[in-house]
């Protein structure tokens, strides 16, 4: 306890507010008088927010279509049951109709149900170092990737791990059945991933002047993949390798077993899609590759517009409204109780 001061009262403690525990303090009392105004205030705030959010959500539109066995896809569904048919291509078409035009940006998602991307072992089964373009990891993937680190030939897999291996490999073409004939709905298939993912987290191994296939020389493709990683996007050479947008989107593991992932965004440069999707009939041509049968999964496509706080989700506004009502109810109860019984408490104080 510091230096010993000389003098007869050397051990006398300091008379400071802190040491004597007399710091100025605000001590709120949780009694009706203090709490009730707060309750009413909170109820009001939540009410207002809830109404506002509800109105906002009402303005969004969403369309979901489960295509697992819909339309002509039942054939493909059956086909994909059998693993031996994995190499055979299968495509089908589903039809959907939009009653009311989708205003603004329209987002095209594919959805999976009952697919547990959040399993611990599954999630861990990836090598971020490989994806960021480290050459060492390209050739010798991390142990996290086990057993998806080497293919049958003993070549290191790129990208390794279960996540990449199980990539969703259906592809969609959305057609608008306009009165004037079917129009291909243009979808932006790039820029659907996070900027930081595309530019920082995922890099192809530095290749100098080498082409991608040369860079990935000596690596094998994942077990379930039909195409090697450098050939994911046949249309855009810069969208290949680890920086393929679909791969990046897939690699961001969904939080829940039922999830959707962005497939594309409506390109609104040309008519008739300048204002969004016009009402009418649409068909989706699906290249049906992803088997879901054996885990009782479902696949769907989702078309939706977004608000400033997310998709068409009524939960949040309702939660606000319910909470507000609860607070109000409690506040009223407390008020009543206070008026009726609280008198004694006040008497006591006086």
């Amino acid at each position: 306890m510091g230096k010993v001061k000389p003098g007869p009262l050397s051990r006398r403690p300091d008379n400071s507010a802190f040491k004597q525990q007399r710091l100025p303090a605000w001590s709120p009392m949780l009694t009706a008088n203090t709490v009730l105004p707060f309750f009413y205030f909170m109820a009001l705030i939540c009410m207002l927010l809830g109404v506002w959010l509800l109105l906002t959500v009402q303005s969004t539109q969403e369309l979901k279509l489960d295509y697992t066995e819909a339309g002509t896809c039942d054939i493909c569904f059956e086909k994909r049951k059998n693993v031996s048919n994995a190499d055979q291509p299968c495509s089908c078409t589903v039809v959907l109709s939009i009653k009311k035009a989708f205003k603004g940006d329209v987002f095209f998602y594919y959805g999976l149900q009952n697919f547990h991307q959040n399993l611990r072992r599954y999630m861990d089964s990836r090598d971020d170092a490989q994806m960021v373009g480290r050459k060492n990891n390209l050739k010798s993937p991390s142990t996290y990737c086990l057993p998806f680190d080497k293919d049958k030939n003993g070549l290191p897999v790129a990208p390794c791990g279960a996540v990449a291996n199980s990539i969703f490999n259906d592809s969609f073409t959305l057609r608008y059945m306009a009165p004037s004939g079917s129009v291909l709905v243009p979808l932006l298939r790039k820029g659907i991933s996070w900027y930081t993912d595309k530019n920082i987290k995922y890099r192809n191994p530095s290749n100098g002047n080498m082409t991608l296939p040369q860079v990935f020389e000596g690596t094998g493709r994942p077990l379930y993949w039909q195409k090697p990683v450098y050939d994911l996007d046949p249309h855009d050479a810069t969208n290949n390798g680890f920086i393929n947008d679909d791969l990046i989107v897939w690699m961001r593991e969904a939080a829940f077993p039922n999830f959707k992932k962005l497939y594309g965004v409506l390109y609104r440069a040309n008519k008739p899609f300048v204002n969004g999707l016009p009402a009418g009939n649409y068909s989706v041509d699906i290249s049906y590759n992803f088997p879901v049968k054996y885990f009782q999964g479902r696949k769907e496509v989702v078309l939706t517009t977004l608000t400033w706080f997310g998709g068409q989700n009524h939960f949040l506004p309702i939660a606000y409204l319910v909470t507000s009502c609860l607070i109000l109810l409690i506040a009223v109860i407390l008020t009543v109780a206070w008026c009726k019984f609280g008198k004694s408490g006040r008497n006591m104080e006086e």
């Binding site: 525990q21 710091l23 009706a32 090598d127 971020d128 057993p147 969904a254 885990f295 206070w338």
Partner: protein, 1520 residues
């Protein structure tokens, strides 16, 4: 115990052999006989050397040893186990290195703390090891400086004044003429008085310097042990002679040499084998009640954890099972590529989940609790209100981990003496030869102190304190002048406060405030003393035999002689201010004046001393007296003066220092050369006289006869000292010496000089008696082991040859001295002791002659006065004497010497020897000493009692004294009945207890309906069972049942019976229903047995408070032991958990700090459980969405550091600073203390409520974000991060709800926590895209902060999560506020209003606080005792005496104890009026008047006294 172990197997064998041989004893040879201290041949080489090492670790052993120690704590093992589990690939949940982080952090924090402590120990060890001392070196044939650590057993060591002893040393030589060495043992036992140690008997006669080379003895002594008060052994000389060694020969390590220039000894025990080191125990470790409770809940947490893990494991197994053989793509196979069976993966998952859920067992809880407790201890230390200015001491917390127990006490066991009272004994009255001297003037003086005290409080800046202060510190010549002033002004300003101040200044001299010192003599007695003195003087002058003195006068004289000499008081001179001890730092060895030293230390005193008195020396010393004393190196002056203190018969003439010293030495030699034949006879037997033979030869030229000596000494003391001194051939020197002095000398009254003598007594009542005797001019001026010098009026100085001192012990309860009376030449035994002990030993008067009749009369009258004194609450002591004939003495001496030299069973033999001597005494008189109540004791007791604490007083004092003190301190209320239990036998005790039970039952069964309707006690009481409390109504605490308006008084003997296994239940049942219990005449063992009984049987929290060694066992047994760092040394403090300077501080310690500590810690622990459960439950809910696979949406970093960093600090601040009620209110409303007693802040159900709340909150925190993000493309960590943040917010707001006071620190800390979380998260998420695999939350926090949804969630989630709790708190605060909340509401009111409310009455406060019956019943007490402050102050002013006078009717004249009914004056309506005597008599058929039950004389006041047995002899414990 670093013993040098030789590699040589032969040596080892020898060592083993030796060990066998020395099983019982240790043999010490002198080292100088052998070449090297460690040499092969040295028989001492196996003994520990003097290097001490209190450190636990060395550089190498630190890591393993510290880790090993830390792993003794189960929690640490658990956490390490979990961290290691992470390294198993199959089950790992986190990055293994990261998972190690918290454990490593916790371990290293503790390790660093340990390391720091150890380093400090190492440094202090080093400092001690490198202190210097003088050790004899064989080669150089002189003493050389050596470090302490180089000292070895068998070394000869030379000790100079003020040196600290490096080891346990056997004293072989001392420069003191009496071969004494004075030591101060304050560091060992805290006693500040000097103790005398004696040179080993066979070295007593060495009149020349001790020469180590000539030493040839071999010492056999005990093995090292920790008993400070025992040392046995013998020394064998080459001649074959054996001499016994006693503890008087042993100087213990750590003591300080005082008053002795030079001493030489041989080291017996060194280093860790010294008694001081063996007594050094580590701090106590206790586990508090709260912690025990907490551990139960930790256990529950473990169970919850296992259940959760099991649940997920089974869930995972089933989940796996549902997919059957076909594995989905997302189900990753084992690394080997093989399938895991569902069962196997479930088992693996179980382990994984333990890792994931580990946070549920809060790793930081234990660390946090420790931190909070340290802070609490710090604040308690810092409390200004617990600081005592008088002694400059504040509260010490010696046990760091039971602060919160202070808030949960239910029973207080208090010592009386020194705890409730000041243990500052003030002489009040005495009776001599059957005549009482009431000392009214003295009483008035004492009353004046008190009045002054209260006046002083009103105007503290009163003048007149300065001269006194000066007078203490300044030189004597100045003092002479000042003295007259100060004695005058003393009356005016000598208040108690000033007395305190004075005692601060003379801090080291105990028991010497003016209040105790200045006793106004009773004029009547003073006359008698004077008369007696003059007669004696006359008779001596005419050489008439002394026996012709009238017997009453002789008794008076003997009485005062006994008071003066029958003690162990040491006289010290004021000119040797003990404060100078501060100079005594190592390296500050006082520079003794070299010449002086050489002169003084040379034993051939004569020649040297004459040389010493050469002119220049004296001139140097004396001509400029005052400046010299101030300006000169203090040590030199000190050295001189100390010498004089040693021979205090001359000390009155202190200032003539050196000249006197010379004469003085010679005088001593003369004294030691008696010529009478009988004395030779005695000499042969008296051990202390063995030296005189050789002395007489060496100083033959100075042989004179004893009568001359006596005359000489008495003449010496008279002012005209020169005549005697001329005989000592030093005229011219003396003239020189005196020339500057005489004017002062002549003008000075003798008493003034003597007044400056200080008495250092082992117990304060001894000092009180000596001071009392001094008031009658019978002053003790010097004490030596073989001689006491007393100054008597008209007779001058008389030297009593002290033949034996039979010290005080608690069994005999008396002490005796055997002296040769210088006037009558008779061998006289003076005995002083407790009245019970003495009265039994008084010679039964033979009724035949007139003398016998007179004795009988004296006896009965004294007994009567003794009873009176006791009734006044005075401590009584009887003084008796006995004259031995020479034959009797010789006979006794023979056997006594045998006892003394016995090695086996010496104590018992000595005890028996003492018993043989102390018989057939002649009663001289008795004294009454007042032990003043400490300030504020009644108020403290009243408020502690209001706080629901049961207060028991356990004292060694006798019943009447104790009862009266109890009344004075409001422990017993005059309005309440007193049950007094005195039984003679086991059966009687059983019957008494039975009767009391019936009585209580009957009486209060009737009245219970009147007291309060909610109580329904005693219907279920069986005679043998403890009261089982009726099921408490709603908020009624399960407190001890029905405390009535009853007091229980029980004496030691009855207590012994009552504590018997067969009766203890009954005793407890009776005691429990009494409001206060007073156990008198209880032994230390009984005290601890009572505490143990109550603690174990009633399962209550007990606090024991005491100040003396006799309270140690009680303090150790109780849950919390409190020591009063008062007058009686440090033993109680050493044993205690908390040391208080005063009893009254207990109030704030318990009511405020105890309450705070308890409520803070309880709330913090609950919060901890809540926090962890809430956090872990989030992950648990997620398992339902991830196939029970053990993945978590919360990033591993957040998971691991959440507890450790992000949410750790606010609760620490709250746990340290939160105040539910202000200190003022807590003290004014002691009822709030019941909060802690009933553990209302932390009940078992609260844990579960908190768990439920935690689960609810986590549900909200989980599912609101879940639904908000459901059906979106959110990824795991983008979703998990907001949940973490929300959980953090919720947890912090939760803490906010629970926080009662918000200081800046709270705000700061909460904002720090939030910002820390976000800063860490942002950095972590931006730092590196690949570093923290497998989780990789790159940039997710940054994205999150851009997401409006996150902010929307931030509003709704905490609001929804905390709604129920907030609502509950609001409801509770509004509708059914707990007492504590009412207290808080009071805090909010302006101070004025609050005071009004509080002063209105306690009853009104109590009413709405809940249906707590004892609030009601206590309300009345508080009305009287506490709330009416003015009344209280008046009472305080009136003081103890008036209090007791008023409350006790004047006693009747009967001499038998207990017949006097100490019934209070008519009590008021507090007791049941409807109850008439017959109703309870009929209900207790066992009672009959002959059984000793006394009915109250009138129906109004009840006082029941049970007493059994014909002779209830009172035994009082003299020093309780």
């Amino acid at each position: 115990m670093a013993r040098d172990s030789e590699e040589d197997p032969k040596a080892a064998k020898r060592q083993r052999k030796r060990k066998q041989k020395e099983n019982k004893t240790r043999t010490v040879h002198a080292n100088i006989l052998y070449d090297h201290a460690k040499g092969e041949e040295n028989p001492n080489r196996h003994y520990a050397n003097n290097k001490i090492k209190t450190t636990k670790y060395t550089v190498l052993s630190f890591l393993p040893k510290n880790l090993f120690e830390q792993f003794h704590r189960f929690a640490n093992v658990y956490f390490v186990f979990i961290a290691l589990l992470n390294f198993v690939p199959v089950v790992n949940a986190f990055q293994p290195e990261l998972a190690l982080a918290p454990v490593v952090f916790i371990l290293s924090v503790t390790a660093i703390k340990d390391l720091w402590e150890d380093y400090r120990r190492h440094r202090s060890d080093n400092e001690i090891n490198h202190m210097d001392c003088l050790v004899y070196c064989r080669v150089e044939r002189r003493y050389v400086e050596k470090f302490w650590k180089e000292v070895r057993v068998g070394d000869f060591i030379r000790l100079r004044c003020n040196e600290i002893l490096p080891a346990d040393v056997l004293l072989l030589s001392s420069s003191d003429p009496d071969r004494l060495c004075h030591i101060e043992t304050a560091t060992l036992d805290g006693e500040t008085n000097l103790k005398q140690r004696q040179v080993v008997r066979s070295f007593l006669d060495l009149d020349c310097d001790f020469d180590p080379l000539k030493y040839n003895g071999i010492i056999e002594c005990e093995k090292p042990n920790n008993d400070l008060n025992r040392f046995r052994g013998y020394i064998v000389h080459r001649s074959g002679r054996r001499d016994a060694l006693y503890k008087e020969n042993l100087l213990l390590r750590g003591c300080t040499i005082r008053n002795t220039e030079d001493a030489v000894g041989i080291i017996i025990y060194a280093g860790h084998e010294t008694k001081a080191m063996l007594n050094n125990n580590g701090p106590r470790y206790k586990r508090s009640k709260l912690e025990r409770q907490m551990n139960v809940d930790v256990f529950w947490c473990v169970i919850i954890l296992l259940v959760m893990c099991l649940f997920t494991a089974v869930g995972h197994g089933l989940w796996m099972f549902q997919y059957g053989d076909k594995r989905p793509v997302f189900d990753v196979l084992s690394p080997e590529g093989t399938d895991l069976s569902p069962v196997m993966s479930a088992i693996y998952l179980f382990l994984t989940m333990i890792i994931v859920f580990q946070v549920l067992i809060p790793i930081s809880l234990f660390v946090s609790i420790e931190i909070v407790k340290i802070c609490q201890v710090f604040f308690i230390h810092q409390d200004l209100d617990l600081y005592d200015e008088e002694t400059d001491s504040n509260l010490q917390c010696r046990a760091l981990n039971i602060t919160e127990d202070l808030g949960q006490m239910q029973y207080i066991f208090s010592d009386k003496t020194g705890t409730l009272t000041e243990n500052k004994m003030v002489f009040r009255r005495c009776t001599v030869a059957g005549v009482e001297y009431s000392h009214d003037a003295n009483a008035k003086r004492l009353a004046m102190y008190q009045e002054m005290d209260s006046e002083e409080e009103e105007c503290p800046s009163r003048g007149g304190t300065l001269p006194r202060r000066d007078s203490v510190g300044s030189h004597q010549s100045a003092k002479v002048v000042l003295r007259s002033q100060s004695t005058k002004s003393h009356r005016r300003t000598g208040s108690r406060a000033e007395a305190k101040r004075a005692s601060i200044l003379s801090k080291h001299t105990a028991f010497s405030s003016p209040m105790e010192k200045d006793i106004t003599p009773d004029p009547q007695l003073l006359d008698k003393v004077n008369e007696c003195g003059s007669q004696m003087d006359f008779m001596r002058f005419h050489s008439q035999p002394m026996s012709q003195l009238p017997s009453d006068l002789a008794d008076v004289l003997d009485f005062f002689v006994a008071l003066t000499i029958c003690n162990t008081v040491v006289v010290s001179s004021p000119n040797q201010p003990r404060q100078k001890q501060q100079l005594l730092q190592p390296g500050h060895q006082p520079l003794l004046h070299p010449r002086l030293l050489s002169v003084l230390s040379s034993p051939s005193a004569e020649s040297t001393l004459t040389k010493l008195d050469e002119e220049q020396n004296l001139q140097q010393a004396f001509s400029p007296v005052p400046p010299q004393y101030d300006g000169r190196p203090l040590s030199a002056a000190e050295g001189e003066l100390r010498y004089e203190a040693e021979s205090p018969d001359e000390a009155a003439l202190v200032y003539a220092a050196r000249a006197y010293k010379c004469s003085l030495v010679r005088m001593r030699f003369e004294l030691k050369s008696p010529v009478k034949t009988i004395e030779d006879f005695i000499k042969r037997f008296t051990p202390s006289r063995l030296t005189s033979g050789s002395n007489s030869s060496s100083s033959s030229s100075l042989v004179t006869n004893r009568s001359f000596t006596r005359g000489c000494s008495s003449v010496l003391s008279s002012p005209s000292a020169e005549s005697t001194l001329t005989k000592l051939d030093e005229e011219q020197n003396l003239q020189q010496a005196f020339s500057p002095v005489p004017p002062q000398y002549d003008g000075r009254p003798l008493s003034a000089v003597e007044g400056e003598l200080r008495y250092e007594a082992e117990s304060p009542d001894e000092a009180a008696l000596v001071y009392a005797a001094r008031a009658y001019k019978c002053s003790l001026v010097g004490r030596l082991p073989d001689q006491v010098t007393v100054e008597l009026p008209h007779l001058g100085k008389l030297s009593f040859e002290l033949l034996h001192t039979l010290g005080f012990d608690s069994t005999r309860k008396r002490m005796s001295v055997v002296v040769r009376h210088p006037l009558t030449d008779q061998i006289t035994v003076y005995t002083k002791g407790a009245d019970s002990a003495i009265m039994e030993l008084i010679r039964p008067p033979d009724t035949g002659n007139s003398k016998g009749k007179r004795h009988k009369k004296i006896l009965s009258r004294t007994q009567h006065f003794l009873n009176l004194y006791a009734a006044d609450g005075l401590r009584t002591l009887c003084i008796a004497k006995k004259v031995l004939s020479k034959e009797q003495y010789a006979c006794w001496l023979q056997r006594h010497l045998e006892a003394e030299t016995a090695i086996q069973g010496r104590e018992e033999l000595l005890f028996e020897s003492a018993l043989r001597l102390e018989t057939n005494l002649q009663l001289l008189g008795a004294t009454g000493i007042e032990d003043r109540l400490q300030d504020g004791v009644p108020e403290t007791i009243a408020s502690l009692r209001q706080a629901g604490l049961q207060i028991w007083v356990l004292t060694g004092d006798k019943q009447e004294t104790a009862v009266n003190i109890a009344y004075a301190c409001k422990l017993l209320d005059p309005e309440e009945e007193i049950l007094t239990l005195n039984a003679d036998s086991q059966e009687a005790c059983a019957v008494l207890l039975e009767e009391s039970l019936h009585y209580i039952q009957a009486k209060f069964l009737c009245s219970s309906s009147e007291h309060t309707t909610t109580k329904s006690y005693h219907s279920n009481v069986s005679p043998f069972g403890i009261y089982t409390p009726p099921p408490p109504p709603s908020s009624c605490p399960p407190a001890p049942p029905a405390v009535h308006q009853l007091g229980l008084v029980i004496d030691g003997r009855t207590l012994a019976y009552a504590l018997d296994r067969s009766l203890e239940d009954k005793f407890l049942a009776v005691a429990q229903s009494c409001r206060s219990v007073l156990c008198c005449r209880s032994t230390p063992l009984q005290k601890s047995m009572v505490v143990k009984l109550v603690r174990n049987k009633l399962k209550v929290m007990t606090l024991a408070i005491g100040d003396g060694a006799n309270d140690v066992s009680m303090i150790q047994v109780a849950d919390v032991g409190v020591g009063i760092s008062g007058q009686e040394g440090m033993q109680a403090v050493m044993a205690s958990d908390f040391a208080l300077p005063r009893f009254r501080y207990l109030q704030k310690l318990l009511l405020v700090h105890g309450h705070w500590c308890y409520s803070r810690l309880a709330n913090m622990i609950l919060y901890f459980f809540y926090k962890n459960a809430m956090f872990v439950a989030l992950i648990f809910w997620y398992q339902f969405y991830c196939g029970f696979s053990g993945s978590s949406m919360i990033d591993q970093w957040y998971l691991i550091f959440f507890n450790l960093m992000f949410s750790a600090f606010p609760q620490l601040i709250t746990g340290t600073l939160d105040k539910d009620v202000s200190a003022e209110t807590l003290q004014q409303l002691p009822q709030l203390y019941t909060n802690g007693q009933n553990s209302e802040e932390y009940k078992p159900y609260m844990f579960w409520m908190n768990m439920i709340d935690a689960f609810y909150q986590s549900l909200v925190c989980f599912f609101i974000p879940y639904f908000a993000y459901a059906d979106s493309d959110v990824d795991l960590f983008t979703w998990g991060t907001p949940i973490t943040s929300l959980a953090l917010f919720t947890i912090l707001v939760h803490l906010g709800i629970e926080t009662k006071t918000w200081t800046r620190m709270n705000w700061l800390c909460i904002s720090f926590s939030v910002s820390l979380f976000f800063t860490v998260a942002l950095c972590y998420n931006a730092y590196c895209p690949t570093c923290f695999s497998p989780s990789n939350p790159y940039w997710s926090m940054q994205r999150l902060l851009q997401d409006p949804l996150f902010y929307l969630l931030c509003v709704i989630t905490p609001a929804a999560a905390l709604l129920p709790r907030y609502f509950y708190r609001a409801c509770q605060g509004t509708l059914f506020p707990s007492p504590v909340q009412v207290g808080r509401q009071l805090d909010k009111l302006p101070a004025e209003t609050r005071r009004n409310i509080l002063s209105l009455s306690g009853v009104k406060m109590g009413l709405p606080l809940g249906p707590k019956p004892h609030f009601l019943s206590l309300g009345k007490t508080s009305f009287k005792g506490c709330n009416k402050k003015q009344q209280q102050q008046q009472q305080q002013r009136r003081g103890l005496q008036t209090d007791s006078d008023k409350e006790l009717p004047s006693a009747d004249k009967d001499t038998l104890p207990y017949t006097k009914d100490a019934a209070p004056p008519a009590s008021k309506d507090c007791l049941d009026q409807t109850l008439d005597a017959s109703s309870w008599i009929t209900s207790t058929p066992l009672l009959s008047p002959s059984d000793g039950v006394q009915f109250p004389p009138d129906g109004d006041s009840f006082c029941v006294k049970y007493s059994r047995g014909s002779e209830d002899r009172l035994k009082s414990d003299q020093s309780s």
